[in-house]
């Protein structure tokens, strides 16, 4: 239900390094657990996260079962020009979520 939370500065100077923070709601069920009746709880995790800046991929991560619920990513890039940051999460059971953020470079 929850939308991913994206945090980027609204304005940055050209050439400046800026921080990008993303937080998404996901249970990250590792697939190694069992119910009280002995049934295996199937794996349900986010497997890939990527971020592109005006269409060019600048960050990508593969996720594995040991990663906690609600994965949080914090990374940096250099401000080249104004535009859009697009974020994409892909996971098990057809999970797919996108978000975007505008950035002004002056």
């Amino acid at each position: 239900m929850a939308r991913p939370l994206i945090n980027v500065p609204a304005k940055v100077k050209r050439g400046q390094v800026f921080e990008i923070k993303t937080l998404i709601s996901h249970i990250m069920e590792p697939g190694f657990r069992f119910t009280t009746t002995g049934d295996k709880i199937p794996r349900d995790i986010v497997t890939t996260f990527s971020c592109s800046y005006n269409g060019e991929e600048i960050f990508r991560a593969d996720l594995y079962p040991a990663i906690s619920a609600n994965p949080f990513f914090d990374f940096f890039t250099v401000a080249t020009e104004g535009g859009t940051l697009d974020f994409k999460w892909v996971g098990d059971n057809g999970f797919s979520e996108t978000a975007s953020a505008k950035i002004v470079v002056e």
Partner: protein, 269 residues
């Protein structure tokens, strides 16, 4: 022939140690209240990373629930097709300080009700909607959103004489030994806070930031969930969600934490 010094068989010495230990615990069954100026939030004992997580809303995973709560606040629901906002308008104004004074007395229930029960009462009375299940994402989201509006305010239990017997009932439960382990809440949280239970620090059990994002749960959870955790840790049968015993305990704990600052939604290990 060797001379042997009489020695106590190990089993007896072990039993003696246990008896002494039990006696030491028994002598402090009725925990004394923590002096007001020594009360501290569990926040102060967090590691650097967990503190950073709680302090920054862009990192705190509980922000995801707060965001959901805000959406639910403005969403029309039930047969009455009403949103919380239709009566209470802007939560950042109308809900300020509300979580700091709950549980409060309900005339309808003739006893104290907690914030979650208040939300469900509103749903049934004003929205004509079915109650939200305990620990459901929706209920946690709404209570986190309402609680968030009191962040930084002092916990201020209502000065209501009708609540007195319920606070006392909560205090009694807090001091009552329960479960196979046969210990009371007070034996850890009044008498031995600051020491270790296995590898973990024993906190004072000040409910300053509920609902909390507990790293062990990998999720948000209510105070009652935490209380039930402790009860099953003592191998006692935990009271059901919403049971009067749990609400009385909540009420007593909030009274005990009066004056401390609300941190909702807090992060705990």
């Amino acid at each position: 022939m060797s001379r042997r010094t009489p020695r106590v068989p190990p089993i007896i010495s072990r039993v003696t140690t246990i008896v002494c230990l039990l006696f030491a615990i028994a002598s402090s069954v009725h925990g004394t209240d923590i002096p007001l100026d020594q009360r501290r939030s569990g926040y102060l004992d967090l590691g650097h990373d967990s503190k950073a997580m709680q302090d920054d809303d862009t990192i705190n995973p509980a922000a995801l629930w707060v965001q959901d709560g805000e959406a639910l606040w403005n969403q029309k629901t039930g047969a009455a097709s009403r949103a919380c906002a239709d009566c209470h308008q802007d939560a950042t104004i109308s809900m300020k300080g509300v979580a700091a004074r709950y549980p409060a007395f309900s005339v309808a229930r003739n006893g104290p009700i907690n914030l979650e029960q208040r939300i469900n009462l509103c749903r049934s009375e004003h929205q004509q909607a079915p109650p939200l299940a305990s620990e459901s994402r929706e209920l946690l989201a709404l209570s986190a959103y309402v609680g968030r509006q009191s962040r930084g305010m002092q916990i201020a239990p209502p000065d209501d004489s009708r609540l007195v017997p319920f606070v006392e009932a909560g205090r009694k439960l807090f001091n009552r030994r329960i479960g196979q382990i046969d210990m009371s809440c007070a034996q850890c949280h009044d008498d031995n806070w600051g020491k270790k239970l296995a590898g973990s620090l024993i906190p004072q059990a000040q409910p300053t930031g509920y609902p909390i994002y507990r790293l062990e749960w990998q999720s948000l959870g209510s105070l009652q969930r935490r209380l039930r955790n402790c009860m099953s840790g003592l191998r006692a049968e935990a009271y059901e969600y919403g049971a009067p015993e749990n609400v009385n305990l909540e009420l007593f704990l909030m009274w005990r934490a009066r004056g401390l600052r609300v941190e909702t939604p807090a992060v705990r290990p």
